[in-house]
Every structure is written in C-alpha cells, then in structure tokens.
C-alpha cells in the first residue's frame, strides 16, 4: 500500500469511520481533491472566456470517462509496459530484467499450448456460432403462428450464463450420469469422456458455446426486419428466385451486422476465461485458455512481470486477428450511404 494512502486510512480509522468504508476514504479524498481542481479550472475558464461555455461543459461532461480512461486504461497500460520488463512478486521491489519475460514466453511450451487452444476455440466457435445464429434467425423470421414462443425458447438458454452454465454442462456432459451420454447410450453409442478426455474437452466447450446463440439470433432477427421490403419486391419483379433474393438482398443488407458480431465474437472468444478456470485448465492442459494461464501466473504464482508480458502478447494476437478480419471482409461488406450504397473495395496495394 502507498504510504500516503496508509496515512489517510489511519486518519479515517482514528475518526471512527466504519471498517468497511475505510478503504474507500483515500479514494474519495483523492477524487474530491481532483474535482475541486477541475471545478476551479472550469470556473476560471468560464470567467476568462464566457462564450466558451459549451466547450467547458463538454469537457466537464466527459470528465468521468476521461479520468477513468487515464487512471484505469492509459496509466495501467504504460505501467504494464514497464512491469513486463521486470521480475516482480508484489512483495519484493520489481527487478529490471529487460526482455527476459518475452524470451521466456516464446520458449514456454505452455504459452504455445495456451495460444493453440485459444486460437482453435476462436477460429472454430465464432464461425459456427455466427452460422448457427444466422440460420436460426432466418428460420425465426418466417411469419408462422406461434413463432414468438419459439423465439423465447431459443433465447432462454442465453440467460444461463457464466459459472452456472459451465456447472450445468459439466453435468450434462458427465461421462457416467450425464444427459448426453445417457441419450447416446440408449442409441447404442458409447459416449466419449467429454470434459475428462483431453482430446474431447475443447470440442465440448465449443459445443457448449453454441447453446447461447440466442443473443446473436435476436440481433440478426432485428436486422432482417430492417431490410426494406421494396428491395425484395424490386428483385422479385426482376425475376429473382428465393436463393438469389437471399444472396443479393438479404446477405448484403445484413453484412455490416454480421461483421460487427464476428468482430466482437472473436475478441470475446480470445478472452475466454471462466471455462478454463472451472476446469483447472482441463486434462493435459487441453483447456489452458490464454487468459486463464495469464491469471494463473499473475494471481496464483504472483509473477506480475511475466503475466504482463503475456498480456501484451495477447494484445498483439487480438489486434492481428481483428485486422485480418477487417481486411478479409472488406470486399464483402455493403455499407448503406446517402448515395444509395456501395460495396467497399479493398484498398489496392501501391507500387
């Protein structure tokens, strides 16, 4: 703990602040001091430039975000660069070790395993989820009696998320008493060990992720409802069949939504953590997801420097995959503009 913070805490304790609130006091003191400075500056600015009240208001309005951005994002990022170059266990002072953490990470077989598992998960689960959610939304878009009930049913599993979902599926896929192996057994098939089997654990997690496609389905469904019927009518008059309507109207109209969902899906998939945590990395590290390994290094082994280096490696991987997705999809995304819309062409390479 910082000595100044400690001093404010002691002061608070001596004033009889309830123990639960003591950790909050230094933070509040700092925040109030900060806002006093900001308030004074704003007041001064208003006196000096009375006509700039809109500008002053703007900066005051975004000040919570701005402070958070500096304190919880920019500051930590900068210090993360430094910490990743040190060896630090939180107790003894950090020791500068240069790029040793990075060289270690590139030689660590478990890092390789973590990258492999995480990338495999992202590359397989995101397309599967997208395809399934999109197909389901097409199905749900048909105007049938009772379709609302079906929509509710398909969305319902999305509410069972996080730990509850994993605990449930540990039992659904339990080799002995589980739902799935019982069904398979009745069909005369000997089911695999699922989570207990190193070669089946990752496919099982991917399968599990498909259960909650309801959220994406609702998004696509809304997109489908937004496609102007005039487009379909015009295309139908031109003699387009159902397949061509889908290929030339539905798909281009929904492509920005699909891209957005694929992007957020990839970023989310690379950050998968809870599954790895509950399964303790899975048998033979088969569920050693990258963030779980990072967590393990930082908060179980207290290797802050190494964990920070891992975080930066993850950052590079996420940025690279995002860039590849954006680049690779540029030819297929149709953006509606005031001119009537155009297909964005990939930028041609110079030279």
């Amino acid at each position: 703990m910082n000595p100044t913070i400690g001093w404010i805490r002691q002061l608070a304790e001596s004033w009889g602040v309830p123990a639960v609130l003591v950790p909050l006091v230094p933070f509040l003191v700092l925040l109030v001091a900060l806002y006093a400075v900001i308030g004074l500056a704003a007041y001064g600015a208003k006196r000096a430039w009375p006509r700039a009240d809109k500008t002053i208001a703007f900066w005051l309005f975004i000040s919570p975000w701005l402070i958070g951005f500096l304190v919880f994002t920019v500051g930590p990022m900068l210090s993360s660069v430094y910490v990743s170059l040190t060896s630090w266990d939180l107790i003894t002072p950090p020791k500068f070790v240069g790029v040793a953490n990075y060289t270690e990470a590139f030689q660590d077989p478990r890092v390789g395993q973590a990258i492999k598992v995480t990338l495999l998960y992202a590359v397989i689960s995101v397309p599967l989820q997208t395809a399934l959610a999109f197909a389901v939304s097409l199905l749900m878009n048909v105007d049938l009696p009772g379709i609302r009930l079906f929509r509710t049913i398909w969305y319902l599993p999305s509410l069972v998320s996080g730990v509850a979902q994993i605990v449930l599926f540990l039992w659904v896929f339990n080799p002995q008493y589980g739902l799935v192996n019982d069904v398979l057994g009745k069909a005369g098939i000997q089911g695999p060990g699922w989570f207990n089997d190193a070669s089946w654990a990752l496919p099982t997690v991917i399968l599990m992720s498909l259960w909650t496609v309801g959220g994406a389905m609702v998004i696509y469904l809304a997109g489908l409802k937004d496609v102007p019927t005039s487009l379909y009518e015009a295309a139908a008059l031109d003699g387009a069949g159902r397949l061509r309507l889908f290929w030339h109207v539905t798909l281009p109209q929904l492509s920005p939504i699909i891209l957005f969902n694929v992007l957020t899906g990839i970023i989310g998939a690379l950050q998968i953590f809870t599954q790895g945590f509950i399964a303790n990395g899975g048998p033979k590290d088969s569920l050693l997801f990258f963030v779980y390994y990072l967590y393990d290094n930082a908060f179980q082994n207290f290797r802050m420097g190494y964990a920070s280096a891992l975080a930066w490696i993850l950052f590079v991987i996420i940025m690279a995959l995002t860039a590849v997705t954006l680049r690779g999809s540029a030819f297929a995304i149709y953006y509606e503009t005031e001119m009537g819309g155009r297909r964005r062409r990939p930028r041609l390479r110079k030279g």
Partner: protein, 298 residues
C-alpha cells in the same frame, strides 16, 4: 432500380403483391410442416438442458443416477433448495452480488449517459477526436490492464474488498457511451435550443430534459448491465480472497470444486443464481429485445 420499384407500386395489386398479402404459412403447407418440425426439434435441443437442470435440482442423489437423461419430475425434493441456501452463506453472497451489480449499474448508466450526451449534443472542437478514442478503447482487451489495475487497487488498499468491482463503473464504459450517444443523437435538437432560451445550464438541461426522455435507453442498458455484472466472474476471481466478500458466481465455482459430486445441490444453486435473470427476462422481455437489438451494430 428505383424506377422498377415505383412501377411495382403503381401497377397496384399485381399477382406477387396479392400472394404476399396471404400469410406465408398458408401459401406453402408442406414447407410449413417441415419448418415446424425443425423448430420443434431445435427447441427441444435448446430447452432440454435447461429443463434437465430444473428437474435434477429436485431429485435425490440416487435419483440422479437412475433418471439419466429423463426430465420427468419423479421427485420433488424442495429441500435441495433449502440445503443450497443453508449449506453455505447464500444470503451473504447474494448481498455481495447485489451490491456489485446494482451500484455499478447506477454508476455506468450515469457516467455513460453524461458522456454520450456530450458527444451527441455538445459538438465542440476535438469532440470528434475524443469520440474516436472512445471507440478505439472498445477494441482494447481488458486483460492488458488487468495486472496493473490490480497493482493500482493494491496501492489503494482495496484488495479483498468489493470496491475494485464497483468503483471503475463510475468512470464510463466505451460501449455504453456509444449506445447513449446514438440514442441522444436521434433526439430532436430543438429540445436543446428551447432549453437554452429558457436560460437552462447544460447540466440542468441534461438532467431535467434529456435524461428523462432517454428512459428506454436507460432501461435497456440497465438490463444488459445487470446480466453482465451479475455473472461477472473474472473480477471477483482476481480481487476477492476471503469468504465474506465472495459473490454468487465465485461461491458457486468454489462449491463446484468442493461438492463436485452433489449434483442436485449444484443444480439447485445454479437455478437460484439464474433466477434473477429469468425473472427480469420475463418481466422486461420487450426491453431486452430492444436493448440487444440496439447493441447489434446498427
């Protein structure tokens, strides 16, 4: 193409239009039956694990083994639920979960609405640049700042308290700032003009004119935030060590590793954790659909 569309309308009730007037399912009955079959089978696959969870939560330990995949409620052991509540300090964890859900919701909604309003209605120099920065941080994975943030809270003496799970919410979140900006942008600008003429300050205008009108957005964002804060696992896993500050998901994870074989108890606890989300879903189904749609990138 535009010409064709117009002739289509001008031609009046052409055959295609009349066909479209009839409900889809009446036009092609065999296809309708196939669709229903697919829908029913798919629904069964989707809802079955869910029903199995509820059925299992009411069975005895021996009953789980003999029931297998069946969801037929042969037993009604409601005491599984009383056991789930009494065998660990359930209410304590529920309270921690509620604190780390409701207070952050208020903080996020307020800070994000404030910033969103500024980006939508207070267009000044550099506001566009700042907004681009906000959008860029949306792509930034939280893991990069995870370790240094831990050190920050360590310096503040807040490790093993609920504060690291609460305080950051008061400083905005790029995604919801974006949502609020979209929402405020669609409101008529005349509102602001009228308020300015009335001599209303910007903050007063935001609080008294715009925020009340943004009720649908506030409700939708609050519900989405509830689902994510209530199920938050990484945060508690990092910051909470002692038993008294555990949240429900963290407690359930610990429960799973300790009582890993007591299926009915685990299922009952899972049902209890999911219950608030279910209740909110059935009460506010429409707002949820709106909210999700709103987040979908349109």
């Amino acid at each position: 193409m535009a010409v064709l569309v117009e002739t289509g309308h001008a031609a009046g009730p052409s055959t295609t239009v009349r066909r479209a007037d009839r409900p889809y399912w009446r036009r092609n009955l065999p296809l309708t039956l196939v669709l229903y079959a697919v829908l029913a089978l798919g629904s069964l696959a989707f809802v079955y694990p869910f029903l199995w969870m509820i059925a299992t939560s009411l069975r005895s330990l021996a009953g789980v083994g003999s029931a297998g995949a069946s969801i037929w409620p042969s037993e009604f052991l409601w005491e599984n639920y009383t056991r789930a509540i009494t065998s660990f300090p359930f209410w304590r964890y529920a309270l921690n979960s509620l604190i780390t859900t409701l207070i952050p919701i208020v903080g996020t909604v307020f800070s994000c609405a404030l910033a969103g309003f500024a980006f939508a209605r207070l267009r000044v120099r550099f506001s566009g640049v700042v907004f681009a920065v906000v959008l860029a941080t949306m792509l930034l994975p939280g893991e990069v700042t995870m370790v240094p943030q831990f050190m920050l809270f360590n310096n503040l003496g807040m490790i093993d308290t609920l504060y690291p799970l609460i305080l950051p919410a008061f400083f905005g979140s790029p995604f919801y700032i974006f949502l609020f900006r979209q929402f405020f942008s669609r409101m008529p600008a005349e509102l602001a003009d009228a308020a300015v003429v009335d001599g209303c300050g910007w903050f007063k205008m935001f609080l008294l004119v715009y925020l009340p009108l943004a009720r649908p957005a506030v409700v939708a964002v609050s519900i989405l935030l509830f689902m994510s804060y209530w199920n938050n696992f990484l945060g508690p896993a990092i910051y909470i060590n002692s038993d008294q500050w555990k949240t429900l998901p963290l407690a359930l994870a610990g429960f799973q590793s300790v009582n890993g074989t007591d299926t009915p108890l685990l299922m009952a606890t899972s049902v209890l954790i999911t219950l608030p989300c279910l209740v909110i879903f059935f009460v506010a189904q429409k707002q949820i659909t709106n909210g999700i749609t709103f987040t979908g990138g349109r």
